[in-house]
Subunit: 199 residues, 2 copies
């Protein structure tokens, strides 16, 4: 089927672009990894750049579906421990899911070259996380689990260090285990610092 190959091409492109970058990827190898010859690719996309644009379209759409809408916000934890657990689950998923890893790498590699990659990178690495945890922390303050404070600032203070550790895992996968332990330690430190003593 046409659609099938079209999507397989995008999957292969994600794999190669995330490893070698756009400029470092050639259509020959990309085609070969799909078991076909390079002219076959041009039956589905008119150029290398068209593949790139389609891949970005897909990444943007995926992000919108999974993180863009308000319904997709995570539930507000009922205890500090639940915040730690939720965080660990999210981070554990995001540093082990190959597709998400590759998406982050592509955005990292092309952020200076492509305007849409740049925009998505900022959402993916910064503002999206802040928005998400602003909601979480607002809820936790309402429940009396967190000290009253600027939830946006807390979300920034919480997500940026964790994001840094995720980037570390992408860069040095061997350190993933150690990084996960640091995420947990940081999460508990955060709770200790901002948690409301219920008495």
């Amino acid at each position: 089927m046409a659609n099938d190959t079209k999507e397989r091409i995008l999957a292969a492109a994600l794999e190669m672009f995330s490893q070698y970058g756009y400029a470092g990827t050639n259509i020959r190898e990309l085609s070969a990894s799909l078991g076909l010859v390079k002219s076959g690719v041009y039956k589905h996309y008119e150029s290398k750049e068209a593949i790139w644009n389609a891949l970005l379209d897909q990444m943007i759409a995926y992000y919108g579906e999974h993180f863009g809408s308000a319904e997709r916000l995570p539930p507000v934890p009922d205890s500090p421990e639940e915040l730690v657990q939720m965080t660990m689950q999210m981070v554990n998923f995001t540093v082990h899911d190959e597709r998400i890893i590759m998406t982050r790498k592509v955005l990292t590699l092309e952020q200076y070259r492509d305007a849409r990659a740049r925009e998505l990178a900022t959402k993916h690495f910064l503002t999206g996380l802040i928005d998400m945890f602003t909601h979480v922390f607002t809820g936790m303050m309402d429940k009396g689990l967190l000290r009253r404070d600027d939830p946006v600032m807390l979300a920034f203070a919480y997500t940026a260090p964790i994001s840094a550790l995720i980037h570390l895992c992408d860069r040095e996968p061997a350190k993933t285990g150690e990084a996960m332990r640091q995420v947990e330690a940081f999460s508990r430190h955060f709770i200790k610092t901002y948690g409301e003593d219920i008495r």
Copy 2:
């Protein structure tokens, strides 16, 4: 002079690699930006890869000289306000110095491909900053300016968000002003959270 041109080639390489990446850079343009023809650079470096390696050598040496040694650690602030000022000064410098910006970009673009870039990226973006502020915060705790806590954890919690904002400036220079304000707000928030009330 031979040395002069050699260094000018490295400077041009830093500029181009940071903008287009290693794979996206070609020797023709690099040479042209120096006002000579491409075969001229081969009088100084035997290959594109040799230029890359020399550039990395230089970046590693530079980092070692300026951030590696214990003497280069910043002075311990005498007041919370001084921490804010010192931070703002450092960040302001690092987001406006073209050479440092380009260095960060190169490390970002080549971190998945080159082992030495990877290593330097982790130092540059994470552990180096943590080490530096571990020293600062240890000193501030000794002076009674900061609540007693794990200084490494505090350094991580302090530098990671700031590092995220620096990366944002690299990615979207138009947001530099806003990012600087966020750095200051975050620094003050940090002081408010961890500062020791002297009474």
